[in-house]
Each structure stands twice: as structure tokens, then as C-alpha cells.
Symmetry: C2
Subunit: 378 residues, 2 copies
Amino acid sequence: MTFSMDITETDGNARTGVINTVRGEIRTPAFMPVGTAATVKAMKPETVCETGADILLGNTYHLMLRPTAERIAKLGGLHKFMNWSGPILTDSGGFQVMSLAKLRKITDEGVSFQSHIDGSKHMLSPERSMEIQRLLGANIVMAFDECTPYPATKKETEDSMLLSMRWAKRSYDAFHDGSDHGEENALFGIVQGGVFEDLRHRSVSALKEIDFDGLAIGGLAVGEGQDVMFEVLDFTMPEMPKNKPRYLMGVGKPDDIVGAVERGIDMFDCVMPSRSGRTGQAFTRRGTVNMKNARHIDDPRPIDADCACSACQNYSRAYISHLIRSGEILGPMLMTEHNLTYYQDLMAGLRAAISQKTLSNFVEKFHQQRAKGDIDEI
Amino acid sequence: MTFSMDITETDGNARTGVINTVRGEIRTPAFMPVGTAATVKAMKPETVCETGADILLGNTYHLMLRPTAERIAKLGGLHKFMNWSGPILTDSGGFQVMSLAKLRKITDEGVSFQSHIDGSKHMLSPERSMEIQRLLGANIVMAFDECTPYPATKKETEDSMLLSMRWAKRSYDAFHDGSDHGEENALFGIVQGGVFEDLRHRSVSALKEIDFDGLAIGGLAVGEGQDVMFEVLDFTMPEMPKNKPRYLMGVGKPDDIVGAVERGIDMFDCVMPSRSGRTGQAFTRRGTVNMKNARHIDDPRPIDADCACSACQNYSRAYISHLIRSGEILGPMLMTEHNLTYYQDLMAGLRAAISQKTLSNFVEKFHQQRAKGDIDEI
């Protein structure tokens, strides 16, 4: 087992360090760009690497349907297939099967559903999810869980959490089947329990009894709002193991990430920088900017003067605005590159600040810059 | 005036050399990727450069409508706007206004028309075309002409050619208005006359009386077929000036280019490699390959084993097939990069063969490889 985490410095509840995997190091706190269908949309993997990303996320649900995990395995695994040599984390399929699949039916055994692409019938269970993630060759495998709907009553949330805990144990047993994949790579459990303190605590306790290599917090960023999310972190994080990676799934906006890092989170993933980039929203040090706004069409300045990405170094807002208006593919390419660079720069800034024990100054400056709003109109 | 052409070697009617511009050298025979709306679709300019392209083509019609030539000029010109420091040739708008614009009306003065984007009213004339190309900062400016419809009667073709010749003289006068742009850059005339030998000869004679820096052959690749196109080249090329660039507009397929180079053409442009790339057609040494075909979905081999582009070095047919089927933007990105690399490799091969006076061997091998068909099915 090569997987381990070294925490090199802490600042308050925040920590910085390195996660070691068979595919190389992940500097934490880390942001994982999402490569849904074996590609970070509109990006070559070498460009994703240049933004500063150490690890990508792949989607079990999407890949099992197309091109199928078996096909990817036969072609040498996901790393080779998509030309990414660094670590890959795959989700379990649980979240997408709930939000995308048609006619899903949940039992204790697992979830049967129809593909949103062609209506074909499939099944996901802890055992099948582990099999798919092994076929893909993931370096961090996520336990199969049910993402509890929000809002939900306490009873619904408890039942859902208990189902996820039973599935967590089955995931662990299926992952540790003696295969090389299980020996060399990591399995993370997922804490559920909605917004209820006692349920979150019971969930962490249940997962601690299983020897997971890291724990994720699931079921947040589903509509509860930042205040509630931070509150859940405040009462959950003290219970989490200190020496293992802590991953906040599907989060989030830049200020969500900053607040979660302050509370001790090590890993994040979110489609926001890439998806927003494709629809014309840029993330900058002074907040988000809608590049579709008419005020950009004559603006010779870059999206973000402090950004070193090639979109900001080589192109004006006027040009990027023209690309978006003309429906040119280069628009999403440059916007995604910029947004992912912004996210990675934010993570690098957080890591440096924690290393220097200056996180509170960093966070203050982060909020001050955003409060100024976008650069003055010209 | 920096513009000049050095012919370094000939082989039969074919020639190789260098065209010198204020923006650098163009190795000939040259293929110019088309950057319609100030972008070679799905490509960063640095990647276009890596394929081996020395010069890009920009479209007057598209750019005058969006973002407008005046806006590009205010932002520092087309080179800066689109981040391409090498030479740029712009067409005159004549071809697109005939094929794309709505409600066009042609008089001796010029063409009035409505934008295909928003229906707004515009006018193109020799004088306005020269003004737009100057605002864009083109290094090779094309005379404003009428692209004769095909098929057309001899009378229609003659009238159209004579109109283009009157417009050629007005283009020359408007280009040489004493501005720095006219002093430093080049203006090409366009030979018209359809498929009629005497009309083509009269057109070349008329253009020779004007001191153009190069001549283009227009009105071909409009449906007449390769045999007729080569026939027109066979009777037109001997009349063309020997010491100036000769540009065959809008051509073409790889075997069109090879045959035209054998007949003495120095420059080409065509949307085919980029457009076909976006729709799943790959150009290879063994002919064209439809990447949408089901036989590729498990194929671990590259599109073209002899190609050094990153699409062929890093990805399988299976992966590219997956991207195309999934509608992923990376599909067009990789396909366009491959196709443009194939075209530039072809031009490099033609240049080397002419330099070594082995063009006939090169052409024979070119056709032999294609006759084999795509790599064997697996």
C-alpha cells in the first residue's frame, strides 16, 4: 500500500501537506477538476496539468454507460485512455444515478436504473461500483452511497445514512478482495447524515470502525446554503480522523472552498469552474464576471490582470467576448483554462498561507479583493 | 516594401521557395489554415503554429460583420486581437458575400447585402474591401472580385470576369493610397474566367498590366471537378508571372493540392481539414477515415501511425471515437490538430521533394499509400 498522507503544517483547523499515491503526489488542500466522460471538457490534459492540478476526478456513472468500464480496462485503463498520468479519483456513481438516471429503483441490494443516454438497463451496487472503479484503475475509489435528497426529514435522512453505512462496509469488503488494485490504491468512506449533528456523528463513528484510507463528507452543496454547510462542517470535522485525507464532495464556489479549508478540509471537486467557463462566467480575484456582458466587447484588458494563464496573458476581454458571441470553440477552451487556473491559484495561495501560518491574513485579503467588485468600467 | 518571393528550386513546373513579409517568412508551397472569425476553429494559435503553419487566412466578410474591422483596428489589429504574430492573408469578402449574405445586389459600384447574422445592411466595394483589410492589418490583401457562379454560360463568365478586372484596378488604386499599410504589405489580383481558356488568358493579361505583388486563381473548386480544375491550371499557369506568388483559392483535398503543386501553385487555403475534423473525418497517409465508424470504438491504434501530432502520439482511435460520440469539445480539438498537421506534413513533403528534384517519386508514393486504404481492420 503506497497511499499515505503527510501533514506538513497546520494553521488553526486548516492543514497543508501531501497525499502520496502510486501515481504521484497530491498537494493539499487540493482542487480536483472534473473529467466526467474521460475528459475535462474543452481542455487537453497537458493544459489541465499546467493549471496546477495534481489529480482529476472521473465519473463512474458516465463511464460505465459510455464507453463502458470494460472497454476502458481492455484499452489499458482510464489513465492511458485519457492521457493523464497523475492520480485519478472516481466517484461511486451514487450521486449521478440519483440525479441523471431514469426510472431508478433503490433496494438494499443497490440501484437499478435506465441510462439517460439510450434507456438501457443497468445496476449499481457496492460490489459493482467497486468492480467498475477497479476496471477504470482509480487511485482513490469512493464507497458506494446514497446521496440523501435535500430537504429531507430526520427519519428519511437517518434511513438513508444507515443504508449508506451498510453499503460502506460492503464497499470495503469488495474493494479488499485481494486484487493488486485494492492493495495499491485507496478507498474513501463517505459521511452522510444531512444537516443533523447526531446523524453526522453516528455516520463518522460507523465509518471509523472500517479501515478507510480517507473520509469524504457527502450530501452537502445540495441546496442547504453556505451557512448551513459550514455549520455541518463545524460539528462534523472535530470527529473526523486527523491523520487521513478529508474530502468535501462537490464543493464549490471559491468562498465555499476557503471556508472549508479553514475548517480542515483537504480535498475538493466541483464542475463549477469548467461548466461556468463554458457558459461565459469567469472567476477572478475580484469576484465572478459575466463575459457575455456588452461592456466587455471593446475592453483591451485581460479577464484578470493578476492571472498568469494563457487566456489572460494573450487575449483581451474583447476577444474572448467575441469568441463567446460567435459560438467559437476557442471561447470555452480559454474560459475553462482561466477558471481552472484561478481555482488552482487559490489552492496554491491557501497552501502557502497555511505553511506560513498566515491563513487569516490570506482569507481577509481574499474577501477584500472580492468586495471591490470587477475592474472599473472603461 | 518588404514583400518579395525567392524561388530556391524548381522541379518540372513545381517550385519551392520563401515569401518574405513584414511578419516573417512563408515557406512555399504553403497551406494556409482558415481562421474565419479570428480563430482557427477549436485551435489555440500556438497549436496552429506547432502544426507547421506559417500564415493564416482571415475572412473579411465575417470580421466586418462581427466584431467589425473598426473594432479590431481599435484593439490593435487582427494579429494582436487573435494572438497570431505571423503573416495573415485576408480574402476580399467577395466569395462569402455571394454564398452567405442575404438579399445581395451587385452593381458596378459593388455589392449591397444583408448580414446572415442579424439582417443588418452593408456594402462591399473594391474601396471598402481595401479599407477593411487595411483596418485588419492584413499582410496579403486580396483584390475585391466577383466569384463567378458555376455552371455559367461563356457570356455570363465573361461579363463577370470583366467586372472583376474593373474591380481589380480599383482595388489597386485604393490599396496604394499612400498609407503605410499599402507600402509595407502585398496586394494580390485574382484571375477569373471560369473554365474558358481565352477568358482566363484575357484575365491574366489584364492583371499583368497592374503591378500586383502576386496572382491568385479564383473561381475553381466550385463544383467543376478535379479534371476540369487541372485542365484550367494547365492552360492558365503558363501565362502567369514566374517571379511572383501564385495562389489557388479555396483548394482543396490532398490530391488536389498535390496536382496543383505539380502545376506550379505556391499557396493554398481550404476549410476542409478543420471543418472535416469537426465532423469526424480524419485525413491520413492512407486516405480519409470516418472516425464515426463503429469499427474504431475498440481500436487502440492512433489515427495515423506516421503522424507526430499530439492527437496521434497520445490518443487511440477508441478514445477519439468516444469523444466524438459523447459530443466532447476535445474531439474537434484533437481532430482539427491532426488534420492540420497532416496538411502541413504534406506541404513539407512537397517542399522537400521539389528541393531534391524528386517530386515525381513523392507523388507516386503519395498515391500508392492512399490506394492501400485505411489500416487493416482488427
